[in-house]
């Protein structure tokens, strides 16, 4: 490579919604990745002997077709690394498209860093050599959630409600089978599916929940559906824990506010209050200083970047095939000192998981500047989160 080439930035395409209804998460994701790149690498002299990392946001409008269009744009511009994560449908479309593209155009390959899409199938039946997932998949999260429920002796009836699509259904199915294994005495008194984004008022559903006599609720709802459900439960005066995956940040925490206090429990892999790691505190403070209205919702973006950079330094370049090989079975230590392992077999990462509660007590780092935030109650170490791989990976030749 010529001298000039060596100074070119390493460009990363961040393909996520940047406009429309789903833009909020895509936008903070972009800012966080960019911030992490600057904070950890660019400000310290870059990588691969001085090359800067440049993150380019490409708007996929939350659509599979637009994601492909943006993928083609990224490829046209010679980009070899693609980040995406919002929505499993989009992620799986992108994964398929990248797999095909790399097969049809071996000289223009790209690697896919999935930072948030949790459908198990992405590292299961549909796993791809080019796809790496940095979030735990929903079955693992459900495993943690049910383990936590299992420790609560006062829970005997559980109501499951979710959005009517694959993720919502997967949550329901997993909850039922896992609860049956861990606490056979718990009765699942309802397993309801509602159309996604269509329900105006959840009170009718809450009525059913009340009538069922449930003393805990499990839901995979996110976005507006989560807020509306939380509100309706509080309005009806139903005082039972609600187990969720996505009930925080992007206005949700602020809107749930008092209504969700000590009701909402969240499974996640990004450590919340109390934060003990100095590195993490400094990172969070620096981010807040730059973007006061945003929250640091996905610290695993930093972890993923760390792995990527390690792989680059190891291989001395950015060739996606080499990067992918290098990342397999890589282990890095994240900001809070836990080890994250990228399993080579299916490109699924493993890390500790947490169950936290929505509250305004003992919150140092709040969400939405609302005073409310997450306080961790329960931690599951990495080894307990590891599940079998069902991936039969199709490994390309160099």
């Amino acid at each position: 490579p010529s001298l000039a080439r060596a100074q070119d930035p390493i460009r990363i395409a961040f393909i996520d919604p940047q406009s429309g209804t789903f833009a909020a998460t895509g936008e903070t994701g972009y800012l966080q990745l960019k911030f992490a790149a600057d904070y950890f690498f660019n400000e310290k002299g870059g990588v691969l002997g001085g090359r800067q990392i440049e993150v380019i946001a490409l708007d996929n409008k939350n659509s599979a077709a637009d994601s492909q269009q943006q993928l083609r744009r990224a490829i046209s511009e010679g980009i070899q690394i693609v980040y995406s994560g919002n929505g499993s449908a989009v992620a799986s479309a992108l994964s398929t498209a990248i797999e095909r593209h790399n097969r049809r155009n071996p000289e223009q390959r790209v690697i896919f860093m999935n930072y948030a899409a949790v459908d198990p199938i992405l590292t299961g039946a549909d796993c791809s050599f080019w796809h790496f997932r940095f979030d735990s998949h929903s079955d693992t999260k459900m495993d943690v959630m049910t383990s936590h429920i299992a420790t609560k002796a006062d829970i005997s009836k559980v109501y499951i409600i979710g959005q009517d699509y694959s993720f919502g259904k997967a949550v329901g199915d997993a909850a039922i089978s896992m609860l049956a294994a861990k606490r056979p005495d718990i009765e699942v008194v309802g397993n309801e599916l509602h159309p996604i984004g269509q329900v105006k008022d959840f009170t009718p559903y809450v009525t059913k929940i009340v009538a069922s006599g449930a003393d805990a609720i499990i839901t995979g709802n996110w976005g507006g559906d989560m807020v509306a459900l939380g509100r309706a439960i509080a309005d009806a005066g139903l005082d039972v824990p609600i187990y969720t995956f996505y009930a925080a940040y992007d206005g949700i925490t602020a809107t749930l506010g008092e209504a969700g206090k000590n009701r909402i429990r969240l499974v996640h892999n990004d450590f919340a209050n109390p934060v003990t790691s100095e590195e993490r505190i400094a990172f969070t403070r620096a981010f807040k200083a730059k973007y006061p209205h945003k929250d640091l919702t996905q610290p695993r973006l930093a972890t993923s970047l760390q792995m990527l950079v390690n792989a680059m330094e190891e291989t001395g370049g950015t060739d996606p095939f080499q990067l992918a090989l290098a990342m397999e079975d890589m282990r890095v230590t994240n900001m809070i000192g836990d080890e994250v392992w990228m399993r080579g077999e299916d490109h699924q990462s493993f890390q500790p998981l947490f169950v936290s509660v929505h509250t305004d007590e003992n919150v140092v780092f709040d969400a939405d500047n609302s005073g409310f935030g997450l306080v961790t109650e329960f931690r599951v170490p990495t080894q307990d989160t590891i599940t079998e791989s069902s991936c039969k990976m199709n490994r390309p030749q160099q």
Binding site: G20, L58, A65, I75, A89
Partner: protein
């Protein structure tokens, strides 16, 4: 004669364009345009020519596309064997079948009744697509691979450029067919029924049957567009048949100009470009797009094509040159105004300490940037208001038939 020349030009443009814009991205955008044009033209068969305002045209596009993907899957699984060049036809036929069924009850009436049935049917089918997972694949959609069919003239369609030429061929064919349809008795009666359905019945035509015919053809061509989509993206999702897609095609046809055959073509090209180009410069592109729509509807009621066609009279009168200077004079303050407004909007939206708009560095925290931009915007606006009357005068002059200009006091 002119007609044949335009068709030839059209064909040449289709062939040459990807040789000029060669990147993967541009080929992909061209591909998208082909799809959008067929779709928008099919929509205009309904609204522009048949007077049927549909809020659910994406249904036929989407259903055709889904069927096309299933056909791809069937080829992949070796249940069927035919060339993927015929995939759009599969989509078209399925769109036609869907239109046959839905049209059988929805074309009874035009106007609001038709519009609302199309809305209801659209919502129903979009919602069912999430429920009927085996056909629609839920929110993840269905995806297929276009490269499994027998090669066609040695092409296996692995590359986008091959798909482009296939799409362009279909586009050309579909456009010719749709144009010819407007020249047939059925096509002309569609216009008549749009104008006055009652009178049409008294000259021997069942308004319902006439609408029905337009409707199924429109469904057919929408299905072809869906099939092309399936070939290009190899995936169809719920989004391809929901209200957003239906709304989009309505906008394309309208912005382009409903009253003209080429209107939807213009609209499809412009909107595709905006969609794929503007969105890369700013995440406020939807805001600008909305603003643009509203302004177009207000000031160019006959769409972009209508605006161009307005220049036919001065052209025939040989007075087009009279407009050049006033246009230029208005364009200067106009573009400065638009530009400074864009800067102001972008600045108030920005998360970043400084950023560039078309090469200008702006600092949202500095009063200087704000003040300067606001003053520039105001000045440009005043200048614009000053120049508009002279443009209007020039326009009147250029359109006046009399030799003495300005007869009208």
């Amino acid at each position: 004669m002119l007609k044949y020349v335009s068709w030839a030009l059209f064909a040449v443009a289709l062939i040459v364009l990807p040789q000029i814009f060669t990147s993967i991205l541009s080929v992909s955008i061209l591909n998208q345009m082909c799809i959008a044009i067929v779709f928008a033209l099919s929509y205009n068969m309904l609204l522009g020519q048949g007077g049927m305002l549909s809020f659910g045209h994406a249904v036929y596009f989407g259903l055709g596309g889904f069927m096309a993907v299933h056909a791809l899957l069937a080829i992949e699984n070796e249940q069927m064997m035919f060339s993927v060049t015929l995939i759009p036809l599969v989509g078209g036929l399925f769109g036609l079948c869907a239109a046959l069924f839905i049209g059988s009850f929805s074309t009874h009436k035009a106007g609001t009744v038709f519009a609302m049935i199309s809305l209801g049917v659209g919502e129903l089918i979009a919602a069912s697509s999430l429920i009927l997972v085996s056909f629609f694949g839920g929110e993840a959609g269905v995806s297929g691979d276009r490269t499994y069919g027998p090669p066609f003239l040695g092409f296996d369609f692995a590359q986008n450029i091959e798909v482009y030429y296939l799409a362009a061929a279909w586009l050309f064919l579909a456009t010719v067919c749709m144009y010819l349809f407007t020249q047939t008795p059925a096509g002309r009666m569609a216009n008549a029924v749009r104008d006055n359905p009652e009178r049409a019945e008294f000259i021997g035509y069942s308004a319902r049957r006439v609408r029905f015919i337009s409707f199924i053809f429109s469904g057919f061509f929408a299905g072809i567009a869906g099939g092309l989509f399936a070939l290009n993206y190899e995936i169809l999702t719920e989004q391809n048949l929901n209200a957003v897609t239906s709304g989009n095609v309505l906008l394309m046809a309208y912005i382009g100009g409903l009253g003209f055959f080429i209107g939807p073509i213009v609209g499809a090209i412009v909107l595709t470009l905006i969609n794929s180009v503007l969105s890369n410069y700013t995440d406020l592109w939807l805001l600008y797009l909305g603003l643009m729509f509203v302004l177009t509807v207000m000031f160019l009621p006959r769409g972009l094509t209508g605006f161009l066609m307005m220049h036919r009279t001065p052209w025939h009168l040989g007075k087009l040159h009279l407009l050049a200077k006033p246009y230029a004079v208005t364009a200067v303050p106009g573009s400065i105004f638009v530009f400074s407004m864009v800067c102001i909007v972008e600045m108030s939206h920005s998360n970043e300490p400084t950023f560039n708009v078309f090469g200008f560095a702006l600092d949202p925290s500095s009063f200087l940037s704000w003040g300067a931009l606001i003053i520039i915007a105001c000045l440009a606006f005043i200048a614009l208001r000053r120049t508009l009357p002279s443009l209007r005068d020039a326009w009147d002059t250029a359109n006046a038939i009399d030799t003495k200009p300005g007869v009208r006091p």
